[in-house]
Symmetry: C2
Subunit: 362 residues, 2 copies
């Protein structure tokens, strides 16, 4: 709230970026590395931009410990496009993917896949309003993959280890990637929309083991090339012009992550930040969070005001205090504080302080 | 080449932006309209961003004279995604769209549609290496639409009027939209990747007459919601998080277009610019352009050095002079100068001067 009169945005995404990342992007905006052009003006096939793209891949590989057997793709259409690209590229239409239904976006990915393959509900926490991560108890023996939503943005739950069920795991890690450590080799495929912890909207990162892709002749004939992983790999994610500026922002963000000591350090900070908020939710009686303790997300902290009439007051007073984006997901209501990498400890402390005072005064 | 040591990028896209547009984006980058946030950090559902989105639509509607019966969509995946979205949304798989094959991208759109409907080649200039816009002579009586590529970026040809054949016309106007006047009501649907004349990469603008979309029950069951125009219209282009920064850049660009007197004024300037280059190509014997006079694009001027050995020299000397992106499309070779709105008369004069001297010295 000091420099540039900055507000603190706790919204679920597009989310706050670390100020040094924004400042670096701004500094180079009119003339990238003395090229005489803005990054937004560069051909995606120019040497300058190809260097950015390759650097970003190399940095991600290092930061996330991505094994050589994986490819990194920079695509468009958000996680939503992946909901459909996963089934068409990885299973024939009569093959099965098991879905763990942990909330709104898990449900959406399940529904999209149901149009394209045999999508099976293998575990589901809808009985308790998705307030926990369900155990996978019975698994059909003919599943080709299982799909999980690593961090449930709308709900406030998260996985901290990939389920071990003897079947390769696919995961939507949109809202926790780069904010907590993810062991890439535990997954066949990871995908994430960039607008939460990977920079700005308009870019989707897909990290996949090359050997899992169906042969082209086994992919349904209606599938556009744009939706084929194999074609995207062969064309360096450039079947069409990629979202160059969003890739560049991720590049700058990777530099910042490295300067901060990597994802392990950021996870430590994020655990500290989330503890600050959960502690207050647990301590003060006006707040409640029904999420199973071990499944609480460190990225998206959801809670309710026990007196529902206080919700609007909480939102308007916090907004007046420069703390914005705290409204819960439309179908859930309540409050949600997203504590992505761009939200600092100081930013979080400001929210904690506000919550404390609000509890004392209401 | 003066301020910020700017180079002049004649590349086909991502392309140069007018300097005042870049400067405005930079000026507001860290704190948009005193919101305390960067545009890239704003929720797509926040009031601030919704205002940007609605403003951009309103400005486009005004600038392009878009009738009320049309919708404007802000999508992802480039023109390439539209190659597939058009057939799945507008025709049943046994219905016909006629394609005019005028070059590389027309061919790509034809091939993508061939997977999804009956795509028919109704006119084709491949006999002369696509150097002209073919007349549509015989048109099957059961065509539901015809598809044209309004400006052929790789070839250097363009339409100046929509073909009148008694069948609704769909057009890829990627590289000339906002650079020359397009009579929207002559088309059922217009689409364009933004990275040429509409700002930055990562955004595709679709302008379509609402009544042409198939009913949902007539769309194939495998089609993801993300690919359905009707669902995109209903969700304000927000089935997934839209490319917010690219939409904002288009908003700033629209302001600049209005300040320049609108598209008619820009077309006048663009005609003047293209004439400067075509005149030199025609005057000096070392250059040649085989494009049919009336079909020459005012956006992408293609030409060859008659002595092929001079091509490399032309490219390296021009690059040394700060004139970049002049290499022709990979499958065509030769030289291509793209003169989008971001390339000024002065920029064009610099190229003209270079070409004159190069001709005199070689």
């Amino acid at each position: 709230m000091s420099k540039y009169n900055r507000k603190i945005n706790f919204g679920a995404g597009p989310a706050m970026l670390p100020l040094p990342v924004l400042e670096k992007v701004e500094e180079d905006f009119l003339n990238y590395k003395d090229s005489g052009l803005s990054v937004v003006e560069m051909s995606h096939r120019s040497e300058n931009f190809m260097n950015i793209l390759l650097d970003t891949k190399a940095k991600l590989k290092k930061i996330m410990n991505i094994p050589d057997s994986y490819e990194i793709l920079f695509l468009q259409g958000g996680a939503t496009a992946q909901f459909s690209m996963i089934p068409v590229n990885l299973v024939r239409k009569d093959e099965k993917i098991g879905y763990v239904l942990t909330g709104v976006f898990a449900q959406k990915s399940f529904e999209a896949a149901s149009k394209l393959c045999k999508a099976v509900n293998i575990a589901d926490s809808s009985d308790k309003n998705y307030d926990y991560i369900p155990e996978i108890k019975n698994i059909p023996n003919d599943l080709k993959y299982i799909h999980i939503t690593g961090n449930n943005t709308a709900i406030g739950t998260a996985y901290y280890n990939a389920p071990k069920v003897g079947v390769p795991v696919i995961a939507d890690w949109s809202s926790a990637i780069l904010g907590q450590e993810i062991k890439v080799e535990d997954y066949a495929l990871i995908y994430a929309g960039a607008q939460k912890n990977m920079g700005i909207a308009g870019l989707t990162v897909v990290i996949l083991r090359k050997d899992i892709i169906l042969k082209d002749e086994d992919i349904e004939s209606f599938v556009p090339n744009l939706m084929k992983y194999e074609k995207q790999i062969k064309s360096d994610s450039m079947i069409n012009t990629p979202p160059t500026f969003a890739i560049y922002c991720l590049d700058v963000l990777c530099d910042w992550i490295i300067s901060m000591g990597g994802v392990a350090s950021l996870e430590k900070i994020n655990r500290e930040k989330s503890k600050m908020i959960y502690d207050i939710v647990d301590e003060y009686d006006i707040y409640e969070n029904g999420i199973s303790q071990n499944d609480r997300s460190i990225m998206n902290i959801t809670f309710n005001l026990k007196k529902d009439s206080l919700t609007e007051k909480f939102l308007s007073s916090s907004s007046e205090a420069g703390l914005v984006g705290l409204k819960g997901y439309k179908l859930r209501g309540g409050i949600r504080a997203s504590l992505y990498n761009g939200v600092s400890i100081e930013d979080t402390a400001a929210l904690a302080e506000f919550m404390k005072k609000f509890a004392q005064n209401n």
